[in-house]
């Protein structure tokens, strides 16, 4: 398959070599333009602060310093917000994956009355713009005495992690042939035994990828974290969003803060993305 896509003679006639060079030039331009914001974030973060506020900045790195990182850490408490983000995201993922796996099994391995309604419901919930739910959710958590509690934020995040988790895990489960389970059952396994010994090991990589993806989603959320927690309990995204000092916005430390928040997430994302693409489209390619 890969051979077909790469070497397919898309261009007509003899100028193929020449046109490949042309496409490569365009591709290089795309690479630079798309990658520039990332590059500039890193470049500014490691630059001496005085070079950052140059009206005609040098596009190449001017020297490497960690001062901006030190400054970012002193401007406001960094580890507190990061710790809270970690607690919230990990809790969401652990609960989400357990609850989501059960639901995914139900809709992918059982035929029952109402299955279609459940699928429609889960897909529909995913489609409600989160922004429009903030008012009633805020009032609800306030009534339940969950305002400014991490548990309130965790349960709120579950609503957007769960539909996605269920749908993706469903995709992974559907790709595991039923015959495997059935063979195990013929050999004397119970239904649960067949699942634990046969399906679960095959599903594990998909579950890891889904968890990491869910973790990233929870880690990146901004609006609910802003509204449902007070200033004293802000999460990492809110910390960065509020990044101003009495001297206005200090961009170099701000980019250092942005780097600290983004790099671990981007690396995680680079690792699981391929697996996720397969899971997300697993259902789609069967249509």
């Amino acid at each position: 398959m890969s051979a077909l896509t790469t070497d397919a003679p898309k261009t007509s006639g003899g100028g193929r070599r020449k046109s490949k060079l042309g496409w490569n030039l365009v591709g290089l331009l795309v690479f630079v333009v798309v990658g520039f914001p990332l590059y500039w974030m890193l470049d500014t973060a490691f630059k001496p602060a005085k070079d950052a506020i140059d009206p005609d900045p040098s596009l190449l790195p001017t020297g490497i310093t960690l001062d901006n990182f030190r400054r970012a850490l002193t401007i406001a408490d960094f580890w507190g917000p990061v710790g809270r983000s970690l607690v919230v995201s990990l809790s969401v993922v652990v609960i989400g994956i357990v609850v989501g796996l059960l639901a995914a099994l139900a809709i992918s391995r059982f035929a029952f009355r109402g299955r279609k309604i459940v699928i429609i419901g889960i897909l529909a919930v995913q489609m409600v713009p989160l922004v429009s739910m903030i008012i009633p959710v805020f009032l609800l958590l306030n009534d339940l005495d969950q305002y400014d509690r991490l548990s309130g934020l965790v349960i709120t995040y579950l609503t957007f992690i769960l539909p996605f988790t269920v749908w993706t895990l469903r995709g992974f489960i559907v790709n595991i042939p039923k015959e495997l389970e059935e063979a195990a059952m013929v050999d004397g396994c119970s239904r649960t035994g067949a699942f634990v010994r046969v399906v679960f090991p095959l599903l594990a990589p998909g579950m890891v990828a889904t968890s990491v993806y869910g973790f990233i989603q929870a880690w990146n959320e901004y609006l609910y974290a802003l509204m449902l927690l007070s200033q004293d309990h802000q999460t990492a995204t809110v910390w960065l969003g509020n990044f101003t000092t009495q001297h206005g916005t200090e961009y170099a430390p701000m980019m250092a803060g942005a780097t600290m928040m983004a790099v671990p997430i981007v690396v995680l994302f680079l690792i699981v993305q391929r697996k996720m693409a397969a899971g997300l489209t697993a259902g789609a390619v069967k249509g």
Binding site: A8, S12, A103, P129, I155, L162, I265
Partner: protein, 327 residues
């Protein structure tokens, strides 16, 4: 060619079910299964979604028919029903309609920009050398994975009026002096920058999904069309596009929903207080509820947004259901 294997968009080939690894296993009808098992498995999920999604959704509707302000929030006064008063106030307000138009123009612009750029990049990815394809994929996935807040602060910095690199680069062009130009002094210009930010974040998902789709276009079909005299555009228009249609419909509907709900980008870019000419439906509803403390009106605006999106959601659901039913 070997570099091609690093494509993130690698997807199992379509329309061929994975070969059953135990082909000889006798197919037995499972019998005696408790009918309640699936519901038992679903219960925790439905419980959570019902509590934090279902209930608030109902509350959103009831709120939008109530007078609900500070005193109701603190419980000094019970919330009283006011019928359609919130809606008639909202719908009778010219500011609201300006916001609606702005939101639609912004979302439409972002979606079209995203889809066209995404398609162009996906096609380009098929034509560049393997090593470059890998490089482009890495930056695409990295920008996709960037937290929205991080991306927003980075763009704020890129477009800073005094020290932003964008103005500096523009000023290097002969005869252009953009140093000190404030992109956020006017709504349309500022929203254009925000649109660029939204598109930058949204394009990778589109490119990667479309690339996966492109690998599924049967080579023989394109070949046949070419032999019949179709040019590059003809092949794209009459072969590639129809095959990709389900994916394109899915991506477009998703983009519409996401771009109509853009919030943190505007909110953080404007330092937590978007000016009147930056208000989109999402920030406007927030503003009514949490700044003006009129939760009823804020809910009415949110509800109008949801209703506006229902048509798009219906299209998406149809597409997904066609997929979900086949197993």
């Amino acid at each position: 060619m070997s570099a091609d294997t690093t494509t993130p968009a690698k997807v199992p080939p379509p329309r061929q079910a994975p070969p059953p690894r135990v082909p000889d296993a006798p197919r037995r009808k499972r019998t005696g299964r408790a009918a309640g098992t699936p519901w038992l498995l679903l219960a925790p999920c439905l419980l959570v979604l019902g509590l934090v999604m279902g209930y608030p959704l109902v509350r959103l509707v009831t709120l939008s028919f109530q007078k609900f302000g500070q005193s109701q929030f603190w419980g000094f006064q019970p919330a009283e029903s006011v019928g359609f008063a919130n809606f008639s106030r909202v719908l009778g307000d010219s500011v609201f309609w300006a916001v609606v138009v702005r939101t639609i123009v912004f979302a439409a612009g972002s979606v079209i920009f995203t889809m066209v750029a995404g398609m162009a990049l996906a096609l380009l990815q098929q034509r560049v050398s393997g090593w470059l394809k890998t490089l482009i994929n890495i930056v695409l996935v990295a920008s996709w994975g960037m937290p929205v807040i991080v991306a927003t602060t980075v763009f704020k910095w890129l477009f800073d009026s005094d020290y932003g690199v964008f103005n500096a680069l523009l000023s290097r062009l002969p005869g252009v002096d953009m140093i000190g130009h404030n992109w956020f002094a006017s709504g349309p210009q500022g929203l254009l920058v925000i649109m660029l930010l939204v598109v930058w974040g949204a394009v990778p998902f589109v490119v990667i999904t479309l690339s996966a789709g492109l690998t599924q276009v049967p080579q023989e079909l394109e070949e046949a069309a070419r032999l019949d005299g179709a040019g590059a555009w003809g092949v794209f228009r009459y072969v590639t596009l129809p095959i990709l249609k389900p994916i394109i419909v899915m991506l477009t509907t998703l983009s519409v929903i996401w771009d109509m709900g853009v919030f943190p980008q505007v909110f953080v870019m404007r330092g937590g207080h978007p000016e009147a000419e930056f208000q989109l439906l999402s920030t406007y509803s927030y503003d009514r509820a949490f700044v003006v403390n009129d939760y009823g009106q804020g809910s009415a605006i949110a509800l109008v947004t949801v209703v506006l999106l229902l048509g798009v959601v219906a299209v998406y659901m149809r597409q997904m259901l066609q997929i979900g039913e086949v197993e």
